[in-house]
């Protein structure tokens, strides 16, 4: 219990630091939010009133305090740029798109990486291993915008198998949603696949040299079974850690893919907001991404206990 409380305190501290950092940096952004709202040629009095209303003339800490105290109630303020919606609502609209893209991309990468890594590790140094490694590096070296364009050209424009430049929400139509998400998720998966395969392959090779693998062989277990039941779990620490980091990272940084496929995700929202000087939206979005990041990595930490019973703390 104490451990969980400690862990939660740690998470809160991280969020606190991140939120303050972002708040401070956003205020340093060039451009005056009041000008951004009013546009050019506004009356001087309107400008002063608006700055007053937005609290722009208060000291940084005061403003941060105001923002934070409403943020904890779920109110992240209002967007400055038309349609000037609630920041929370805007984020709740974009987050599921990014989250779905990231998880789908990671799942596709994982589903492909695990068998590829197993196959590579089982024949380490052999022809298959070398072919897989070379293809992974080839994939890794293709920039994602190029890969995305190629996929769009071939599968959307050419073959017409997939729609492009549209998005259907999960809540509206699940099959249509998956149909729309598959191609962009594939682009994301490609980038992660090479990394996942490489990491897991290397860890598997180390594990396969362990005595307990020899002992399992000596019991007459077939090689594929040893790979799945004996080698995979002890070899998956780096992979799981990497997946956590990737998920957190992808939530806010699938910008290129979002632009290519015209998807209403977090990445393009933040870029637009930053360009327009829409500081409440940027602050809110970054805070939420930090929250996702922190929560995902905390769950990864918890999963270590499942992966390796030795790391489980004995509760008296």
């Amino acid at each position: 219990m104490r451990r969980i409380a400690l862990r939660a305190g740690e998470l809160l501290a991280v969020l606190f630091v991140v939120s303050f950092g972002v708040f401070a940096m956003v205020t340093l952004m060039p451009g005056d939010p009041a000008v951004a709202i009013l546009g050019e040629g506004h009356p001087k009095q309107d400008y002063v009133d608006l700055r007053q209303e937005l609290g722009l003339d208060d000291p940084l800490l005061t403003r941060y305090w105001h923002w934070l105290s409403s943020a904890v109630t779920g109110d992240l303020g209002r967007s400055l740029v038309p349609p000037q919606g609630d920041v929370t609502d805007r984020i709740l609209g974009a987050l599921p798109v990014s989250f779905q893209l990231a998880t789908m991309g990671l799942l596709i990468a994982l589903v492909l990486a695990v068998p590829l890594a197993m196959w590579s590790a089982a024949h380490a140094g052999g022809l298959v291993d070398r072919i897989i490694s070379a293809s992974m590096f080839a994939i890794l070296s293709i920039p994602s915008f190029l890969a995305g364009l190629l996929l769009i050209m071939v599968f959307a424009n050419g073959l017409g198998w997939f729609p492009r430049a549209q998005w259907v929400r999960i809540s509206e139509d699940l099959p249509a949603n998956l149909h729309h998400a598959l191609l962009p998720a594939l682009v994301i998966a490609m980038m992660e696949l090479a990394l996942f395969t490489r990491i897991l392959r290397n860890d598997l090779i180390v594990t396969l040299n362990e005595d307990y693998i020899l002992a399992a062989r000596a019991k007459g277990m077939p090689p594929w079974r040893i790979m799945v039941t004996d080698a995979l779990r002890p070899s998956s620490f780096s992979l799981v850690t990497l997946m956590g980091i990737s998920l957190g990272r992808l939530i806010g940084s699938t910008v290129i893919v979002e632009y290519l496929f015209a998807l209403p995700g977090m990445g393009s929202m933040i870029v637009t907001a930053a360009n327009q000087g829409d500081f409440p939206l940027v602050q809110g979005a970054v805070l939420i991404i930090a929250l996702v990041y922190v929560v995902v990595n905390a769950s990864i930490d918890v999963s270590y206990g499942y992966l390796d019973p030795r790391t489980r703390r004995v509760h008296a």
């Binding site: 307990y212 000596a218 007459g220 004996d230």
Partner: protein, 345 residues
């Protein structure tokens, strides 16, 4: 059916040659041996003498591949281990032959429960269902004297002590009732106080089951009194083999003699200097010509450095007994003959 005399293991002229980046290594260089049901053979030698590789090649865990060449033959229960397809060979591992490994800290999978280690072999080889395999595993843990076996089944290896873990490894090896057990330095990683318990446990389980056992050890004390016969290995070859009592009483090979002399004895006076064997084991990548022990041998002569001695009968005294009781040694100038000559002269 009288299977007390059944020939469980026949090894003929076995070679295991590794091709390494630094050269060719003859880890096992022409070893022959045989073992009957219920019999115990000790294989002793220094680190690097090829004992472990021999054990693994006999089992077939080391087999022909890109960098390993195995020649000669190993027959376990009549099956030619190295002529079989890997898939068929795996069917021997468990019911015919099993191995107990050196370090119980590393030979159990840290993320797998104790129970799963034992039941998976039972289910695979004997086709038991989950429940029967579970019961059988509990029974096996009981046979190796693990207290509270039902509770231990659910524990992870790290929750057990070293001795307990080695008992689990033994239970795992015995799960499918093998006819031959290869114990590769089973007590090297354990506390001295636990070593004797484990060795005695292995001996009593072997005799209960009429199981043939190969006890690989660098510890002659472990082999003395617990094995019927012993083979002394040096540089990948058997340099001396006979009844254990005979080798211990009258070693023929100077290496065996030196090895025996290096055992510390409780009867020794305090501060007796431990007698180590001068020099280092041969470099297996570039073995010396002639007898591989010659560079360290106190009796070596020119012939020893030129001509490799072959295994031959060492004394007339035991001729007439059945072949397995003969006393073979690979030495041009064995100690028995030297002593006999001295007695005559």
């Amino acid at each position: 059916m009288n299977d007390t005399n059944e020939l469980v293991l026949e090894v003929a002229d076995l070679h295991t040659v590794f091709t390494t980046p630094r050269g060719v290594m003859r880890a096992v260089d022409g070893v022959s041996m045989s073992l009957r049901a219920g019999e115990t053979l000790g294989i002793v030698g220094e680190s690097g003498s090829g004992k472990s590789v021999l054990g693994r090649t006999v089992m077939g865990l080391i087999a022909d591949n890109a960098t390993t060449a195995v020649s000669g033959s190993v027959r376990i229960g009549g099956h030619d281990v190295h002529a079989m397809k890997p898939k068929d060979r795996r069917k021997l591992w468990g019911p015919e032959v099993a191995m107990v490994f050196q370090d119980p800290m590393t030979s159990l999978n840290p993320v797998k429960r104790v129970g799963a280690h034992i039941t998976e072999a039972l289910r695979l080889h004997l086709g038991l269902n989950r429940k029967d395999a579970h019961e059988r595993a509990i029974d096996l843990l009981r046979q190796v004297f693990i207290p509270e076996p039902a509770r231990r089944m659910k524990q992870y290896p790290h929750e057990l002590s070293g001795g307990m873990r080695q008992r689990v490894v033994i239970a795992m090896a015995l799960a499918c009732d093998p006819k031959l057990l290869i114990a590769d330095e089973p007590t090297t990683a354990l506390d001295v106080t636990v070593q004797k318990q484990i060795l005695d446990l292995l001996a009593s389980l072997a005799s209960q089951r009429n199981m043939a056992t190969i006890l690989i050890s660098h510890d002659l004390g472990a082999v003395e009194g617990r094995t019927d016969r012993v083979a002394v290995m040096y540089g990948g070859r058997t340099v001396e083999t006979s009844l254990t009592s005979r080798v211990f009483a009258r070693p023929a090979h100077p290496y065996a003699e030196a090895l025996l002399a290096s055992i510390p004895r409780i009867a020794d006076a305090p501060h007796t200097v431990l007698r180590a064997i001068e020099g280092a084991p041969p470099n297996m990548l570039a073995p010396p010509g002639g007898c591989s022990f010659a560079p360290r041998c106190r009796l070596a002569q020119d012939r020893c450095r030129e001509e490799q001695p072959q295994l031959r009968e060492m004394s007339d005294g035991v001729r007439g007994l059945h072949a397995e009781a003969s006393h073979l040694g690979a030495c041009h100038f064995p100690l028995t003959e030297v002593t006999e000559r001295q007695e005559v002269g």
